[in-house]
Amino acid sequence: MSPKDAFALAVKEVIRRLGRSVLTLLAVALAACLLTALVLISRTAETEVLRQLAKGGPLASIKVAAAAPDPSQLANDNARPGSPRDLGPQAARAIGRLPDVASVVPVITSRMIFVPSAGAPGAGRPEPSYFFDTAVGADLRDPSLLPISVLAGRLPAPGSLTEVAVTPGYLERLRLDPAEPEKVLGAELEMGPPRVFDELEEQTFRALWQRTEIVGVVAQEAAPGGIVTSIEHTRRAQRWSAASDGDTGELELSNSPYTGLVVVADGLDRIGKVRRQITDIGYSTSAPENLIASVQRYLNVVEIVLTAIGSIALVIACLGIANALLAAVRERRREIGVLKAIGARDRDILFVFLIEASLLGALGGVLGSLGGWAAASAVGIVVNSYLTAQGLLGLHLGPSWGVLLLGVLGSTLLASVAGAVPALKAARLPAREAVSES
């Protein structure tokens, strides 16, 4: 019997016991649905948690500080830096040439005075009406290389002196609702780096005022600071403040051209190596590698447990297939004998039953995987609305063909394994059942 004919016969058998077939199919579909939904949700949870950890930037990012390394701190994610050390374009180029380094983005921070414009949301409410904060300037030409994620609006244009982005900390400072970050977009923010003058026993500030527009709200980990600007903006500010005289302790002035670098390694597993090499060049580094590794370990355990639960459900459903087919074999002993009497070989009978089992598994797998995807998407929508209400980044649940394929192939395979027992039993039935009395 050709595979095509065996398939046709198996289909007829499935249709013959339609009620029982539908029930077993439903069980497989539900189990496959559970499995794919659980795997999809746990996968998404893993990537989302890591994305939140990396603040939207690359996971394998390393922060380099303008300081000498403290060798005892290498195993520490947030290494305590040693004494200050200038970090300039030359060091950045040297780090960029290291193997396993994908990119190097310089960062310059600058202490500034900020004055939210009158009439802007939240302006004027808390006293005083100005405040000090650190502006974080980075090369914004390729934001994907930076640990910055946009919550609303967009990043300032590279090189712009008139566009800034603020962090949720800024919203909090102005008592604005973090769930509605877009309300602050378009507001004016006057800002300027101070220069300190020592005049007649009295210290005075003069700021280089710049009127800017808030174009985005972002979460960022590039450097501590509440405002994000272009690196050109903070470089200009740094130069202005550097000409101060007298006591400038509050300005945290530094002679280093760059405050730090954001380095991206070629993979999570390369972070340790790159950090050691940067230490050899002579700079202090920090990276969330240990945090990410342990989070990944926990998430893996969760994924394994959820996958196991789904798999057990699928195994139970496939036992249902085995049960239904065993009953069918018992009821059709004589018919199987007749098939043999008219010339079917043992393996023809085996194939018909195996095909029947895998057909139920495959159909159930397809229905269940699609259902699981739908369920996971529904969960995603609910979770998303919750996350956005919390002022957090929404999650993204893409069509994961791998997981869907796993659901279909898994249930087909399990079903054929489950079908093997009744199929073998049928194939081994003696042909003389054809002339038995019962």
């Binding site: 007749v338 009497a341 010339g343 043992d346």
Partner: protein
């Protein structure tokens, strides 16, 4: 048309293992049926008729003795070899018809040709010709449930002929039929036997039916009681 096969059985013994010990079903059976012969097999229930048929039809390898059908020594065959023998040499007709309920008359007959891997276009033609030959040319799409007992047995006979067998084995083919249908089925078997020249062995409880065969065999407790031969033609008087 394939000619009939001779049946030659010598010293055939067959026992079934059961819980307590073994039950002897056949005990030293010797039997000769000439090629193209038409034999009836009678005997009370449990005499071993079905067992003899099962062995002759290759449903089960003989345990002891020699069984040769045509040029095939059945005691040498196992598994797939027996399946090939059943496919190519034997056509079975059962008391219970043995049709598959989900398949139409046409598909039931075609199934036998599928098992021999007959090329697809030839299948349909041969199947339709056979259904015409058994008088069911107009009922090809009907499922067994939509046919009378006699009609079902005609479908089964068409299926038995699908692979041009050299031996037809019928186990109480009229056991589930009323008298008129039974006569129709027997006459069909006789007609096909005459037309195609295959050897036919019919198990029956009906003396009248048995009496129409050219060779009558009686079986009791696994042994041949008597075998009588008539001149061919004598048994075929219409009754």
């Amino acid at each position: 048309m394939a000619a009939g096969a001779t049946i030659s059985v010598k010293g055939l013994a067959h026992a079934f293992r059961s819980g307590s010990g073994s039950v002897s079903a056949l005990d030293g059976v010797d039997l000769e049926v000439p090629a193209g012969g038409y034999a009836s097999l009678m005997g009370s229930s449990g005499a071993g008729k079905s067992t003899l048929l099962a062995i002759l039809g290759g449903l089960e390898p003989p345990q002891r003795g020699s069984v040769v059908v045509g040029d095939t020594d059945l005691s040498r065959l196992r598994g797939d070899g027996l399946a090939r023998y059943r496919r190519s040499t034997v056509g079975f007709v059962f008391q219970h018809f043995g049709l598959i309920g989900t398949l139409s008359a046409l598909e039931n007959v075609e199934l036998a040709t599928i098992l021999t891997r007959l090329p697809r276009p030839a299948r349909r033609a041969r199947t339709l010709a056979l259904l015409h030959a058994v008088g069911l040319g107009q009922r090809t799409t009907h499922k067994p449930g939509e046919l009378s007992g006699g009609e079902r047995q005609r479908v089964a006979i068409a299926r038995a002929l699908a692979n041009e067998p050299r031996l037809i084995l019928a186990d109480e083919p009229t056991g589930n039929l009323d008298e008129a249908s039974a006569r129709g089925v027997i006459e069909l078997l006789e007609q096909l036997h005459a037309e195609r020249g295959c050897t036919v062995l019919v198990v029956t409880h009906n003396r009248a039916i048995a009496g129409r065969a050219s060779q009558q065999i009686a079986l009791s407790r696994g042994r041949i009681l008597a075998a009588t031969c008539h001149q061919s033609g004598e048994g075929r008087r219409s009754g």
